[in-house]
Symmetry: C2
């Protein structure tokens, strides 16, 4: 049996041990990891340089190299994040339901760790610390499978974690890194049902789609955000401008950024051109429908592909629509069920939109950019789920728990 | 595009319409279905006879024919179950979290329908009514794909549902039956991510395994129950006998029935033989380890396969173990994470077992046969989930809901 099977098995065994530790013991381990990171930062930076060097040799883009790069500041940020995590409430062991039946059976439904999490991710080595610490906080083991481009960094970080765990009472086997970053090890993880209870992909659409398509281990799907703003007939002009510009330009690479603006036709007749100009003046490339293109010469023609596209860049698609029903129908056809917003002074249209649009988060008169675990006050974020089962929207620590029924009797049998 | 795509699309469209109906309107539709079933029972029985006849011609076993069979009593039972469902609380629209952020954003997390459910099931036509009614109660559309052996019955039942829905305000398209029961239509459903939000298989292990392995639509895994009883050293003799016999013989075909008994060695020395005799006298075939086989001549030797097997019949595997740790380890190796029980007077061992065994429901001094939505008081049961995500254990109506964040602002943008 190869590395994936062996490490999966060790992680599974450790997951049973993890059931026995208190919140204080888990938090102590997190603080030890935080300290160890600071202590070993030179070593981590040295190993990270190897990845940066081979990345440069392999012609990786500067933006990918920047994602891989670790410096003092970034390592200190990881260490601080661990300290913040310690302060959060332990979601494990909460009694969510309690009942006593007529036959005397006492039933208690409690939150428990999921067991073993698998995490498949790209470039960013900070995910290694992030995912491992969220797992430990919630009493889960984790099997990490990063990308080859961050291999040395990930190995250094997991070694740091192991040295810290050795000082704690928690088992070091709770955190496993698959060092072989070939396609085969990813495939093995997809099907490691014997040991993995959940698989979470973090990265681009290609990675997530592959995992969803191939994995037989249950997956939590995160990430893709083709987010829309609908500007209704009665939308406040200034609000519409602010939210459009902020949604597209403040941080275009993130999943809750705007990708399409739908504009009610009368509002478009009045303010459309100046909104297009404002976007254009902020370096946003515009892909428009016929109405948009015929009224603004800088707009390029949008294809069907554009309505489906999450640009993650300073590009936007714009369409003029009949009304709120037309907007809902467009969003439910092309959206990714992430975050959608309406600007309107008409409360009825707002409610129609919020209930009719199928998405994790729906906004009335606010920017889609707020869909985020920290903004929502969860203190941590595992990712933003775009599926409807288990967890939807920003996932806090409780997304990493399951439940279990504890039943106490005195000899009851079924009649 | 074929039947599956077309009906999936209609179900999706209907799922958006379903968002607009009140609890009363949904309940009214359920009552209309209940009445329509009674009204049309002769027609349904006539169609059911066609399935029974072709089943007999195709050599189906009497037990499968019994599962397919519908008579007045069974139809009346379905009609009554619908009336009971009406009485249950509507799980949709519940505010599960509410907060106001410093920037004035109001965030409300509410339960919503999942959208479109797919259900793939075998033989029993009562699943048609059961699944459709649970879907409608929770505001979901459903695409049903039954087996060819119950084809006429399923078509008759869905026609009855449609005639009832036509009298209600709900859209008839909310309930779709795939009439082509070839393998191809099942495969199409596995991948119909465009329209299906969840896929639930109901049937034997073969069906469930195939769905889990092949489907890219998120699956709720239900059913397989390789349940264990561990009789600890201090177990009360009478309690151990009662729970063993009840767990195995009261209804051997169900998923919460006992399949393996693990017995602590000292207890076995004292009472083992008489327990084996009691089982044998109740027509239970025994597959035992060496200790069991050498002390009881009717026992056959258990293979590794036996420890993995859910017999669903009057057969049981029995093993003598060292202690509670040994028992936990056996269960976590061979179990299906369904229901597991310990009998002991030792509270420490009980807690060790309950927390260490990885299963949806864990019992101290009670029969595993209680794992059931009705026994737990949920009033309805979609199935018993053996996975850890979304829902675990007996699933009531709220397992058919998702959540959605409704966010209200007055122009907030991200800083």
């Amino acid at each position: 049996m190869g590395e994936v099977y062996q490490k999966g098995k060790l992680a599974k065994k450790a997951s049973y041990q993890l059931l026995n530790y208190t919140t204080d013991e888990k938090n102590e381990a997190l603080l030890l990891i935080s300290n160890q990171l600071i202590e070993e930062k030179d070593l981590i930076i040295k190993e990270n340089k190897k990845d940066l060097q081979s990345g440069a040799e392999n012609g990786l883009s500067t933006s990918i190299l920047d994602r891989i790069m670790l410096d003092e500041k970034r390592i200190e940020d990881m260490a601080s994040a661990l300290k913040e995590l310690v302060k959060l409430k332990d979601p494990v062991g909460e009694v969510v339901e309690e009942m006593e039946k007529e036959n005397g059976l006492k039933i208690r439904k409690k939150t428990v760790p999921i067991g073993v999490m698998g995490m498949i991710y790209e470039a960013r080595p900070n995910v290694t610390i992030d995912a491992a610490s969220l797992a430990l906080k919630t009493g889960n083991s984790i099997v990490l499978r990063g990308s080859s481009s961050a291999k040395h960094s990930n190995m250094a970080l997991v070694n740091t974690i192991h040295r810290a765990l050795d000082k704690s009472v928690l088992p070091r086997d709770a955190v496993q890194l698959i060092e072989d970053t070939s396609r085969e090890t990813a495939k093995e993880l997809f099907h490691l049902k014997e040991f993995l209870d959940v698989l979470i992909p973090r990265g681009g659409k290609g990675l997530i789609d592959t995992v969803v398509k191939e994995a037989t281990v249950p997956v939590i799907e995160t990430g893709a955000g083709n987010c829309h703003l609908f500007i209704d007939e009665t939308a406040d002009r200034e609000m519409a401008f602010n939210i459009s510009l902020n949604g597209k330009t403040q941080r275009p690479s993130v999943c809750n950024a705007l990708e399409t603006i739908l504009i009610e036709k009368n509002w478009f007749d009045q303010y459309g051109l100046s909104l297009l100009e404002a976007l254009h003046n902020n370096a946003v490339e515009i892909y428009g429908d016929n109405t948009v293109c015929s009224s603004f010469s800088f707009a390029k023609e949008a294809t069907v592909e554009d309505w489906y596209t999450e640009y993650s860049a300073l590009k936007i698609s714009i369409k003029v629509v009949e009304d709120v029903i037309d907007a809902i129908s467009h969003i439910n056809t092309y959206g990714t069920k992430h975050s959608e917003a309406i600007i309107t002074e008409n409360k009825e249209n707002a409610e129609l939109f919020l209930s009719g649009v199928d998405a994790a988060a729906v906004y009335h008169n606010a920017s889609t950019r707020f869909t985020d675990g920290f903004e929502f006050g969860y203190g941590a974020e595992i990712g933003i789920s775009t599926q409807k089962l288990h967890a939807r929207g920003p996932m806090g620590l409780n997304a990493l728990t399951s439940v279990k029924y504890f039943i106490y009797g005195d000899g009851q049998v079924r009649k």
